[in-house]
Symmetry: C2
Subunit: 115 residues, 2 copies
Amino acid sequence: MARATTTSDAFNAIAEPQRRQILDLLKQGERPVHDLARELGIAQPSASKHLRVLREVRLVRVREVGKRRYYGLDARGLRPIHQWVGGFEEFWNETFDRLDTYVQHLKSDANEGAQ
Amino acid sequence: MARATTTSDAFNAIAEPQRRQILDLLKQGERPVHDLARELGIAQPSASKHLRVLREVRLVRVREVGKRRYYGLDARGLRPIHQWVGGFEEFWNETFDRLDTYVQHLKSDANEGAQ
DNA sequence: TTGACGCATTCCTATATGGGAATATGATAA
DNA sequence: TTATCATATTCCCATATAGGAATGCGTCAA
């Protein structure tokens, strides 16, 4: 099997750095495509493709005004990610302790072996 | 260009559901590979491959005991993700309001047009 | 109507994937 | 030493990229 689609969920969608940049930019408000493309220094078709992915996973919404399409943030899809990652909050502090404990285990094992 | 490597950063590494499951399981403590494989219902080589990815992005660490390799959580790499996603916290609540405001704009525009 | 603009889509290609199967590697037990 | 167990690695393949280039398409201005 191949890798999961970028549009399969928000996790995959935000794995791409440029798409994260787009979301960051949209914090300031809605923006048309060429604006985002220029800001990111990428070609317009690339921006459109990234935006399509973000649209399909519902992280952005579009408002059409004349020939422009204003993309805006819809951050609700990020909430599950925040929650999942947040489930490790107690661990990324504890990890150091664990590593220390582990190292101490090693040392005491070594000492016992030496005795 | 192709997609970014799964090992390019933690964002890409955790885009794969099974790797997230592995991390979830490791909250309970260290586990050998066959244990994880059985728990996830996948073949041992698959587990080893996923663990390799997680190792390369430093989300897990290994402790070798005899022929077993106990994989343990190193959640520190999840912190940047939590922070980045957390930067949208004010938006995933506000988004509803924005959408409402937007809809009202549309309505008022329509009314003005009708006048 | 025509041309220009803003954006989406399509075609193309190199690349990395995840899984299955087979095999290599290393450690332990007999 | 040899058989066995626990893991890692390799080879295979179908698949989905991301970007560049070209093009389609609707909208607006002249």
